[in-house]
Symmetry: C3
Subunit: 330 residues, 3 copies
């Protein structure tokens, strides 16, 4: 079977451990031309800075090459629904595009954000599911509606490097934003941390629950690895003793805003991490954010410019985990 890596379940706790170990080893002693004669086709439905640069760097620095395609920008918009009459603005179907790219490249990397329709649709991850279904070569996710596995792995590698272990108390805290962002990043932090045996606290306002499916999957990993997962609406309590604080904005659970159970985003400014928040965490706590981050809206300058921030290391770790993942795919 083709080795796709688009969700944490493609790796499981053992796969995660293997990838992180490889990433750590190669961070110390970089491998040589391990991607010689390999070509990665990168397909972006959405913008990217770190993801694109770190994937390209991983390929190029090890003798490989990458082709970058932006869907709808220089390339046709892609249809992923079965059986439709294609009379709209999507000129090509993934049923053609994916097998064709697989004839030119050794693997496909895909970025496709949530369509913003519902948590239920994100759970199905339709675009990446279509890529998996139609690609005879390995597909790796550069973030999809449900997960951003490379980010989760980079986050946990950062924890590992900071504390020598991932089995520490970590807190994922909701952060404010001006629009409801997808849940892929918080999902992946939660899933990966659980797969790494961390003791995880997730703090978010009422109505911003992660999906039951993701929570159940995380709890299953925690059970297998000796970690733990808990959820709270009390940010202050959640920060106490945390060794790593990972902040991220995300939108309300589907329907929560309409039903009135979700606090309105505009009233949630105090959730923005500041230096005061970080002082509540463990003395040697580190701060994580996947980036891009909106300063002074999502996270305060005092945190990002303070002693806690590991966001640049975390971004560098994208390179390291992706190099390890790509090596395992080829």
């Amino acid at each position: 079977m083709t080795r796709h890596i688009t969700h944490l379940r493609d790796l499981g706790p053992e796969g995660v451990a293997r990838v992180l170990a490889q990433a750590v080893a190669w961070k110390e002693a970089p491998p040589g031309k391990i991607f010689a004669d390999k070509l990665l086709a990168m397909v972006f439905f959405n913008p990217s800075l770190r993801t694109r640069a770190s994937f390209e760097a991983a390929m190029l620095r090890h003798g490989g090459n990458a082709i970058v395609l932006e869907v709808g920008n220089g390339t046709w918009k892609l249809e992923d629904r079965d059986g439709v009459v294609m009379d709209g603005d999507r000129a090509e179907h993934v049923k053609e595009a994916v097998p064709v790219l697989a004839r030119y490249a050794d693997a496909l990397a895909v970025r496709t954000f949530s369509g913003g329709v519902s948590d239920a649709e994100d759970e199905l991850d339709p675009v990446i599911a279509a890529f998996r279904a139609h690609s005879p070569v390995p597909v790796i996710s550069m973030e999809s509606a449900r997960e951003h596995p490379c980010q989760g792995l980079a986050d946990l590698l950062t924890v590992q490097k900071a504390f020598g272990t991932t089995k520490v108390p970590v807190t994922l805290t909701w952060a404010p934003h001006m629009k409801p962002l997808p849940k892929a990043v918080p999902n992946s932090f939660l899933l990966t941390a659980a797969a790494c045996g961390a003791d995880i606290t997730v703090a978010h306002p009422e109505g911003y629950e992660l999906t039951p499916e993701v929570r159940a999957e995380a709890e299953a990993y925690a059970k297998a690895t000796g970690g733990s997962v808990r959820f709270t609406h009390n940010q202050g309590e959640a920060l106490k003793g945390a060794k790593a604080v990972c902040a991220k904005a995300w939108g309300p659970a589907t329907g929560a805003a309409d039903s009135g159970t979700a606090a309105s985003m505009s009233s949630l400014g105090p959730w923005m991490p500041t230096a005061a928040h970080m002082h509540a965490a463990a003395k040697d706590a580190v701060f994580l954010h996947c980036l891009p981050v909106r300063r002074n809206l999502e996270v305060h300058d005092s945190v990002l410019d303070g002693p806690w921030s590991r966001v640049t290391d975390e971004a560098e770790n994208r390179f390291h985990v992706q190099r390890a993942l790509l090596a395992s795919m080829f």
Copy 2:
């Protein structure tokens, strides 16, 4: 003289045979770093998926490199008319841009679709003509107003691989679309098939005639190679016995729509190839389409997902013929 390849007449039947033979040979036994130290500058006036990925792959997989420029998207819009006062949105003239790129790259690849003005203007192919005129390094077409030579070659390579010869009955059938598309692809199928000695039937509604110049050129090739060319408005009759069915949407002949001789596109839905159409062809018939294809508008799912479809092979063959063409240019 600089060896440009932008129209079938740059190759002629002998050149076509040579390229296909090379493509077949290298499909079996890929060459090594034949493009080492070679740099291809790719200039896109229009979107691309296959073309871009397959050209980049051809260069990168053989030790070469490619630079991708999108005109008007990150790069200045280009003027190609002589003597104009450049006070519009085109900030640079091909008289500067082309010689300059030729100082950086070993060859230029250009994609420039029909401007949609008239068949007569497409026949002159003004942008690609300007590139040829001003480039001291070889220019290769990635589709222009008049022709898409790499597509035609890939189509015939697909026929060759399916039947061991290109001297078989092939049918080019018009297909429906929501807008009048350029004629470069049908032109190139016709010209290349004729240059390969195929027995070609072209079926299209009244008013959708290919230009007299292209038809005359195809007939001249057919005469030289022992092939044949005929045109009909009867799709059903055209499909009978065809070994390869190539479908493509294109617009009415210039003036035909205004003069009332062209059937309106909206009434031509029954021209969409379905499984029933393919059952009318030869028992071992293959189906070709250049892609992108609008499913269930231009071609029915039952064909694209059926046993006849060779569209992915056809797209892969773009890589093989382009590798052979590039090698002949450098």
Copy 3:
């Protein structure tokens, strides 16, 4: 200290001489894989043809690689102001983006045009200053608000190749345009020519003065190198005896248009260089323009297609000086 090259003052007259000598030497005898294992991240806030192609070519032709990012086009828009609440359309701050890219690449190249606010803001060059401040790896300018150092170097290399020396009379003449363009290119021609000991005449209409800071810097270089700088509103007089005529459109000095001291752009058509203008220069004079050039608005066909034009050589020289600059940075 990190070796950034974004302004002429980063090189000074000695650095300029060294770069030009290296460029001349490698133009004759190209070096081998001098950029092996080197990765350049190119960040474009603005469009580019020559700059992008020549930088990519310089890296790719010598064993290196380049990643191209277009800010706001496939990549987040970047904020460069300190302390703001990032609730607008700029989703990422250079404080994050620059250090992150520096983890993936060995050097950063940046293009960021003038914001068009004022000469005073251009003098501060805020975006490139932010890149310098936050990058632990070398930053090279691909044109900023104040200067376009690679262009100035390419211009003077063209003079050097034409006359065997840069110590000749050169004239920078203002040229018409339909909109007020930035002053980076004229600034860099002036600064680099002065650093090369040329005898420079700058001709422009009243109200189109270059900034006092740039003029003072050029005069200081001229003093050190034995060159000279003078300014005039009399184009005809300025052309007399000039060995090199460099034309460029630029906008009025800040406030000049409002104060009525700047001639209106629409009345300045006669400033457009024509063959007649070039006949007024030295018999063996060469014509320079950075490109893109709007033909018959900014410069007449008779000059660009005449015997004086070296604009293609000048563009090729971008490759040569950038190769030398990059080599000095790594």
